[in-house]
């Protein structure tokens, strides 16, 4: 049976992890490689690295980091954050990333999705969507959620699927940071509408939130950052809990 995936997201700035505590055995919580290795050992099913560096030197640093990550870890990983052109995609895929995620750049230039799918295959094209419930409608936001767009989420997801996206990473801005649970209704609506996997993000605060996500929606994966970084919910504990609750989960 296909398992539900648990995905920690690591924010990267200038080649370093932004948040993160010192796990036992980790000398440097700012070292993305050490943190990634720890997550792999803890049973993470996949990793997402989100680069939030704003400098022009960004791509070079990122490509070096991706090369090191690929050398060290043996599970799939996605790289996102400021992937604007097919050349950006090519450089991180060639460095060893399994997937790239595009967000604002895909809204600005939807053709990028098709270019990625054609050149590297749909499986490596994750479209990240930041969505917010505004005046009775789920809308798409870009630039880290700072800018509203006229796109309705349920129309945009259909469009990205048609353009060649292999997966959707859906973050509810209403839920993100609240630790009050995932946005179940939009997650299910999107999962119902598209035939590609949907990763739910935003709002995870307890183990029960993951159980509810997987029991009430068709989401293929749950993504979270702070609860894993700060050790609030250790991944082995989360997976043991989900397993006991009869959720299909990979057990290591």
């Amino acid at each position: 049976m296909l398992k539900k995936r648990i995905i920690p997201c690591l924010d990267i700035k200038n080649g370093r992890t932004v948040k993160g505590i010192n796990f036992v055995g980790i000398r440097d919580a700012g070292d993305p490689i050490e943190l990634a290795k720890q997550y792999v050992e803890h049973g993470a099913d996949e990793l997402v690295f989100l680069d939030i560096t704003a400098t022009v030197e960004k791509r070079k640093t990122l490509v070096e980091l991706v090369t090191h990550i690929a050398e060290e870890i043996n599970i799939p990983f996605t790289v996102g954050g400021g992937i604007n052109t097919i050349e950006d995609v090519s450089s991180v895929i060639k460095a060893g990333a399994d997937k790239v995620s595009v967000n604002s750049s895909a809204v600005k230039n939807p053709e990028l999705i098709t270019q990625i799918a054609r050149q590297f295959g749909s499986q490596c094209c994750v479209v990240a969507i930041d969505t917010k419930f505004v005046d009775g409608e789920w809308m798409v936001f870009v630039h880290g959620g700072r800018t509203a767009t006229p796109l309705k989420t349920l129309e945009w997801v259909k469009q990205v699927e048609t353009l060649g996206a292999g997966e959707i990473l859906l973050t509810s801005m209403n839920n993100d940071g609240t630790k009050a649970g995932f946005a179940l209704d939009i997650t299910e609506k999107v999962s119902e509408l598209v035939n590609i996997p949907v990763i739910a993000s935003g709002g995870a605060g307890t183990k029960t939130h993951f159980k509810t996500l997987f029991e009430t929606t068709q989401a293929s994966a749950g993504l979270a950052a702070s609860i894993f970084h700060y050790g609030e919910i250790p991944i082995p504990e989360l997976k043991q809990y989900l397993k006991n609750e009869n959720i299909a989960i990979r057990w290591t």
């Binding site: 296909l2 995936r5 295959g121 749909s122 996997p197 068709q218």
Partner: protein, 192 residues
């Protein structure tokens, strides 16, 4: 020396990284002599069947692959290209495995992406690997089960997730991305 066949498919670097972690030296090559002289050959790949097959033919690699006598391991698209035929791009493939590659019916999410278990395991490739362990998959096409199938995975329908014919082995999952259990499978192959 292990040869990793170089062609227009992604994910080749990941295989070399996995071999490095296991302490094996490898070369990524499309040179006939290097491939035929290697002690083991790995034929990886993520991509599209018809363009990959065209590339192999243009470079004469189709004949080279069929001529390999040492153990060879195809991975993902590699497995599919080793079959007779693929629906993807209506492609005549290498014809090493007598089975066909079809597109998943859209009854569930496609691609089949993530971790899945397998059953009906047969042979040395799966030494020390339990069937309740999961491997990482990402694919939209599958190989139909045949008598050369040495492991079966179930997603939408049962399909061939590992196939063997003589010295030719292949897996639909990505051992190089399947954590410790995938590493074990690669190790089993390298120790054949």
């Amino acid at each position: 020396m292990i040869a990793i066949i170089k062609y227009n498919a992604g994910n080749i670097r990941s295989v070399q990284n996995a071999l490095n972690r296991l302490g094996y030296e490898s070369i990524i090559t499309d040179d006939k002599t290097e491939i035929l002289n290697a002690s083991k050959v790995i034929f990886p790949g993520v991509g599209e069947a018809s363009s990959a097959m065209k590339y192999l033919k243009d470079k004469g690699l189709d004949e080279v692959i069929r001529a390999i006598e040492k153990p060879m391991l195809g991975i993902c698209l590699g497995l599919q290209l080793m079959c007779d035929y693929s629906e993807e791009g209506n492609t005549q493939c290498l014809g090493i495995f007598n089975t066909q590659v079809k597109k998943f019916p859209p009854n569930k999410k496609v691609p089949h992406m993530g971790w899945n278990s397998f059953s009906d395991v047969n042979g040395k490739l799966f030494h020390d690997i339990k069937t309740n362990e999961d491997m990482y998959y990402v694919h939209s096409y599958y190989a139909e089960k045949n008598e050369q199938t040495i492991a079966t995975c179930n997603y939408i329908l049962p399909f061939a997730t590992a196939i063997q014919h003589n010295n030719f082995y292949a897996t639909q999952f990505h051992p190089e991305k399947s954590a410790d259990v995938g590493t074990q499978l690669l190790k089993n192959f390298l120790e054949l």
